[in-house]
């Protein structure tokens, strides 16, 4: 990608953070962070989950206020008290999760925020949108409902919204996580155009390659602290590879390549065994809110890890839900150990040995206000020996809960602590403990490390490897290509509800999967 030369040196920073600290109960989310954001630069904030990136955005966009330190806007100390205040200071934010009202049209969404007594000025809007969007080469349909747009289109609308409000700083929070590879390319071009006009772009990501590709200046965050910054001059002097190894050193403190790169050990003898899970022509009609499944067919052998790759929202969740029995299918068969299970309800499939770790750990995986102990048994309510004749046997439950807490190293004050108060990593361990309990034959993981910190992510990946090593079949759904390449024996790629190709995880798998994801032949 060609990079225009920007003249950052001449101007003063639009925003500067001085010793900014923000605490939440139990954590210091930002610890004396110093940061300057210059016009005409893409400033990448790089860090893992939990590094404090989101909190920093919250502070800049007026959602939260710092506990210590100050924020200078144009050199003047300013308390950004609310989102509307941030907007009036010229700080526009595109959040990771879409912030459009689904029941309003694009035009109405863009008009939101004008004084309440006014008539919405749709005509004026139309000409302005035309102006701005033409020069950026993006297209939006003003009359479509926001809910009808793809995630990439929604993002364009949100960027447009920030520009219509004369933002001087555009903050993009994990904006690539929902995009296709080509969508990511487009966003990169767009960012260059914006900084070319003298805007400042703050681009938040945890992906090293994107940081290297799109940035002018990089700040690396780790555990709430800023651990390093690479200024534009130095940035331009380095090639991608040395940039990435520098990031890694800053983020993880050692120069040993990407720690998420894992050596995959081949599993001998997988290919000979009879499949433990056979899925044939599984089909489900799409709905207005979710893609369907079309003609999904695959085999999973004992000890095998089959990765499912694909851009988020291409039917992976539906596949997991359909296999586990949470949603109905129209056609096709599912054989577990040779036995058809497609007509069985959820708990019978579980009893047969099919286990499912959901990606939505708090939304559907657990009941947040219920104690850890009860959450272990959510899928076994009424089963012996924890219940007898429907009556709860407290002692049995407690004994088992304590054993699981010890076996899975779950850090919780007690087995009676509401599960919602635990950290993401520990909630994941509660789910692991629940699903791996006796009799598992096939385990479906949906985005198992999403939102976890590095230590927990690595522990989870080790756990997945152990499960496969013990002879169980693992279906690993993930949007993280590195994770799939590091763990899987084979990788199937899903696009728009169907499997568009399956590749052996060999040297060439990365490019093959990449090509399949963007709709090319492997």
């Amino acid at each position: 990608m060609e990079r225009e030369v920007t003249t950052a040196g001449s101007a003063a920073p639009i925003i500067a953070l001085e010793g900014v600290t923000k605490r939440f109960p139990g954590v210091v989310a930002n610890d004396h962070v110093e940061l300057a954001i210059w016009p005409g630069e893409v400033h990448v904030l790089l860090g893992e989950n939990g590094a404090g990136k989101s909190t920093l955005i919250g502070l800049l966009s007026g959602l939260q206020q710092p506990d210590e330190g100050r924020i200078l806007v144009d050199g003047k100390p300013t308390a950004i008290t609310s989102p509307s205040h941030a907007l009036s200071l010229g700080i526009g934010t595109v959040f990771q999760h879409t912030m459009l009202v689904p029941t309003l049209t694009v035009a109405e969404n863009l008009l939101l925020g004008a004084p309440w007594w006014r008539r919405p000025r749709k005509d004026g809007l139309r000409t302005r949108v035309e102006e701005v969007s033409r020069s950026l080469g993006i297209k939006v349909n003003l009359d479509a409902l926001a809910s009808e747009l793809s995630l990439g289109e929604q993002q364009h609308v949100e960027i447009l919204r920030a520009l219509l409000r004369d933002s001087r700083i555009l903050i993009l929070d994990e904006s690539t996580s929902m995009l296709t590879p080509s969508g990511i390319e487009e966003l990169g071009v767009l960012m260059r155009q914006l900084v070319g006009r003298g805007l400042a772009v703050v681009f938040i990501t945890h992906k090293l390659k994107e940081a290297a590709a799109f940035g002018d200046r990089i700040s690396v965050l780790k555990l709430g602290r800023k651990v390093g910054e690479i200024a534009p001059e130095r940035f331009r002097a380095l090639d991608e590879e040395s940039l990435i190894s520098e990031f890694v050193e800053l983020m993880f403190g050692k120069r040993s390549g990407d720690p998420e790169d894992v050596v995959r050990e081949p599993h001998p003898g997988i290919s000979q065994a009879a499949p433990v899970l056979s899925v044939r022509a599984l089909t489900r009609a799409p709905t207005s809110v979710s893609p369907g499944l079309s003609d999904i067919t695959f085999d999973l052998r004992p000890g095998e890890i089959l990765g499912i790759a694909g851009i988020d929202g291409n039917g992976q969740k539906q596949l997991a839900d359909a296999l586990s029995g949470q949603i109905a299918t129209d056609d096709g068969s599912i054989l577990l150990d040779g036995q058809p299970i497609e007509f069985l309800p959820v708990h019978a499939r579980r009893d047969a040995g099919l286990r499912y770790l959901t990606d939505d750990r708090l939304g559907e995986g657990t009941v947040a206000p219920f104690p850890v102990s009860i959450n272990f048994f959510l899928k076994q309510i009424g089963d012996r020996p924890f219940w007898r004749s429907g009556i709860e046997r407290r002692a049995e439950l407690d004994r088992r809960a304590r054993a699981l807490i010890a076996a899975f190293d779950i850090r919780t004050p007690s087995s009676e602590t509401p599960v919602g108060r635990l950290s993401g990593g520990n909630i994941q361990k509660v789910l692991l403990a629940r699903e791996l309990a006796d009799g598992a034959k096939v385990v479906i993981f949906n985005k198992p490390t999403y939102g976890l910190d590095l230590a927990n992510a690595l522990a989870t990946r080790n756990r997945i490897r152990e499960i496969a090593a013990s002879g169980k079949g693992v279906l690993l759904i993930s949007t993280d290509l590195e994770e799939l390449l590091g763990l899987s024996d084979r990788i199937a790629v899903m696009a728009q509800g169907s499997v568009v190709g399956t590749v052996e995880n060999s040297e060439t798998a990365r490019t093959e999967v990449g090509r399949l994801m963007v709709g090319l032949a492997a």
Partner: protein
Amino acid sequence: MSAEASTIAVDPEEPAGVGRVILHRILLTVGPILIALVIAGLILVAVGVDPLAYYGYVIERGLLSPTGVQQTLTRMAPMLFLAAGLIVAFRAGIWNLGVDGQFLLGAVTAAAAAPLLANAMPVWAAVVGAFVLATVVAMIWSLVPALLKAYHGVNEIITTLMMTFLGVSFANVLVKLVFLDPETTVPQTRTLPVEDRLPRLFDTTISSGLLLGLVAVIGVHLIMTRTAFGLKLRVVGANPRAAVHAGLDVPWLTIAVFAISAGLAGAGGAVDILGVQGNVRADWNPAYGLTVIPMVFLARLNGFASIAFVLLLSVLSIGGESAARRLGVPNHFTLVLIAIVLIVLAIVEYVDTRYLSRRR
């Protein structure tokens, strides 16, 4: 960040109580009641009544005098059934705001059935039969909102509210047109003779309905806290998506909740008729439900605490009715007092979770 969000919380899963927690809870409950008594007392002062004299009289008549306490305990019976029904529904996350209609239809069914059945079978069997019929009729009455909620996701607040309006009218139609006692000029159902009603306890005037009511509330409490079925309902109430994920049959459980909740409300109507009233007069509608709803919330959906709050409500209503006659303060004051208690308690709980408990 979200667990503490809603006060007056449907958050029955507090970590098991140490003594300090219980004491904290009791303080949090008694304190607001005292504050509310003071605020309500100011209203009494404003209308020229001595609040101390009024409260004293209410406690005297509602709790201390022999006849008063017997009336109070008798009045508790139907309210306890309603509380039991509401606890089931609210813990399962279902807003059954139609208990008054279900109660009334249960009452009319019992009033109509008991005298008829008594002709055909022993009196005890007739009373039991009427009780069961009333429960079943109320269950059936809840079927429409239940099915609409379970299979079409239609908001139960609208449907149960409408079914209550419908139920009150329907009960009146039944009393005036179908089960009219031909021997009286007043439109009412045939009267169950006093000796055929639910037995009284020992040598008192307290109806044995009180015991049934206590059994209902305690039974519901134990089912909700100690059984697999109760846990399933609580999972549906706390997180319906987790219930689907765990493989629970959410539509069926929803229908079961409606049936149990409405059935208990209907049983409450039956107990009031079979134990106390003996018949249903046209346009009779005590509307206990709307006052019991705040009680179960004040009790945080706990069965035992609900008994205490229903007792409080009963003392206030019986005492308030006497005070109306003697001190000229209409018993509507009781409603004001309940509302103030509810609001003060909500605020105190908010302050507690927001500012005080943070330190722990």
